[in-house]
């Protein structure tokens, strides 16, 4: 039964990712991207990572994508119309890179072992919190300082010149 749910979600994810890459209209593309983020949240949920699913929706699907959406929807539409077709040169450089990465990942999947969950996690939130504030305290604090610096920078940039 779990395979059916996983299959549906994975299919949804793949279709939306392909759509995000292949569709020409930027607004449709961002909609496909949004749908792929939601499918990802569904996958997390089906794997029992509830906290991750919730954060995926709140942070990726809303906080980040909404700013893409705000920027894209306010582009003057004449500029969008002027751009036709795909980036040919970029595609030429991109395909080898994608191929190499695909081969690497393929060999990793074939040769490696899959991670097995150790024990059952009762409360997602508690476990993630404990890990963050014990094993990963230093990276966590560094990340918060970086974010603080970025925030101060954004406030400086957005300030009105007197």
């Amino acid at each position: 039964m779990e395979w059916v749910i996983f299959g549906v979600l994975a299919f949804w994810l793949l279709v939306s990712v392909l759509g995000a890459v292949l569709v020409k209209n930027p607004v449709h593309s961002i909609l496909f991207f949004l749908s792929s983020v939601l499918a990802m949240a569904g996958l997390f949920l089906s794997l029992g990572a509830e906290l991750l699913a919730g954060l995926q929706i709140i942070i990726y699907a809303v906080a980040i994508v909404v700013f893409y959406v705000l920027v894209i929807t306010t582009i003057p539409w004449e500029k969008v119309k002027r751009f036709e077709g795909v980036y040919k040169k970029e595609l030429l450089f991109g395909i080898p890179v994608v191929l190499v990465i695909f081969l690497l990942m393929g060999s990793m999947v074939l040769r490696g072992r899959f991670a097995q969950p150790v024990g059952v996690v009762e409360d997602n939130v508690r476990e993630v919190g404990r890990t963050l504030f014990t094993s990963y305290l230093f990276p966590f604090e560094v990340a918060s300082v970086i974010l603080l610096v970025a925030m101060i920078g954004a406030i400086l940039l957005g300030r009105k010149e007197e």
């Binding site: 607004v27 909609l31 954060l55 709140i58 699907a61 809303v62 997602n124």
Partner: protein
């Protein structure tokens, strides 16, 4: 396997009941709101269709459904239709984590009157509340109209600002209860015998403001300022497609967020046992609709803020207040020991 089938059937029944009740309720709230607005403004409100105008929502629905559908020129048709779904779906999904009462048993099966009792219940509330922003943005964008688009951008700015404040205002309650599950929060309040509004009055006021802003109610309804923007983002929609947008925003969102407020601050279904087995449901619904009534009352008495003030209030006054509240609560919980 049979246990799985049983739980599936029970869940489907719960979803069906909730969907029917929520949508019917949304329709009838229009009647309540019009009656209330009428009496606040010394009018009578709807009186013609049926006794006390009780059949008015049905007449409205019929009218909306039989109207000619007009799609504006230059509109992006798939996005234009998708935007309605993106507005309505999160509003309905908000109801999935609301616990209406304690567990009970029928035919030997335990039934919880909540669709999904996940331990991230409150995160789901924030997620769905903020996902609603896409319905607004895309409905404004897809209609290819400047009024609609300005309205949708204003609303987006409001939702982003107030969603942040909402998250921080509720953190105090989570600290006290020690869980994010909505059922767990109600049980924590019943164990202590105190509603969290007495511990977290600041948080409740902040939550109330955010609730008004998210559901587009006065005094934060700048996105539909009738005098400047006609009605904002839904101006190019007609028929039932128009009807769905206010239904989601003004009615479903208001009811769902009021119910969450009852869960967080007013002890959920707790109350004296006056009606036997249905008394928890009675208390839950009574508290919820008391709050909905309060919101409607505000809507028809207050003037609205200016567009630039609304976001300034959120970022400069409410967010620092919410952060201070979280800090003080955390220190107090640490010293006196809240939930483990």
């Amino acid at each position: 396997m049979s246990e799985f089938v049983v739980s599936l059937v029970i869940t489907l029944i719960k979803i069906g009941v909730l969907l029917g009740v929520a949508l019917g309720l949304g329709a009838y709230l229009t009647w309540v709101e019009r009656k209330l607005a009428g009496h606040i403004q010394a009018r009578l409100g709807p009186t013609v269709v049926g006794p006390f105008g009780l059949l008015q929502p049905l007449a409205d629905g019929l009218k909306l459904m039989t109207k000619e559908s007009i799609i504006p020129k230059g509109a992006d048709v798939p996005v234009y239709y998708l935007a309605i779904m993106m507005a309505v779906a999160p509003a309905i999904l908000l109801f999935s984590v609301i616990p209406f009462g304690p567990e009970f048993r029928i035919l030997g099966y335990e039934i919880k009157p909540i669709i999904s009792d996940v331990n991230i219940g409150l995160l789901v509330v924030f997620a769905m509340g903020s996902l609603a922003v896409y319905g607004t943005i895309f409905s404004g964008w897809a209609s290819n109209s400047k009024y609609a688009f300005i309205g949708s951008l204003r609303k987006a700015a409001v939702i982003i600002a107030y969603e942040v404040v909402l998250g921080f205002s509720v953190l105090g309650v989570i600290l006290l209860a020690g869980t994010m599950s909505t059922t767990g929060i109600v049980e924590a309040q019943m164990e202590r015998g105190v509603w969290f509004i007495f511990y977290q009055p600041v948080a409740f006021i902040l939550y109330l403001f955010c609730m008004l802003a998210e559901s587009g109610r006065v005094p934060f309804d700048i996105q539909e300022a009738e005098a400047e923007l006609v009605t904002g983002y839904n101006v190019e929609y007609g028929g039932m497609r128009f009807g769905a947008l206010p239904l989601a925003e003004w009615y479903l969102n208001t009811v769902a967020l009021s119910a969450i407020a009852v869960v967080l601050f007013f002890g959920g279904w707790s109350g004296p046992n006056i009606l036997g087995p249905i008394s928890p449901y009675f208390w839950f619904l009574a508290k919820t609709f008391g709050l909905v009534f309060f919101v409607l009352w505000l809507h028809w008495t207050l003037p609205r803020f200016q567009a630039k003030d609304v976001t300034e209030i959120a970022w400069k006054i409410m967010l620092p207040l919410a952060l201070a509240n979280v800090l003080i609560t955390a220190v107090v919980v640490y010293i006196f020991g809240g939930a483990g």
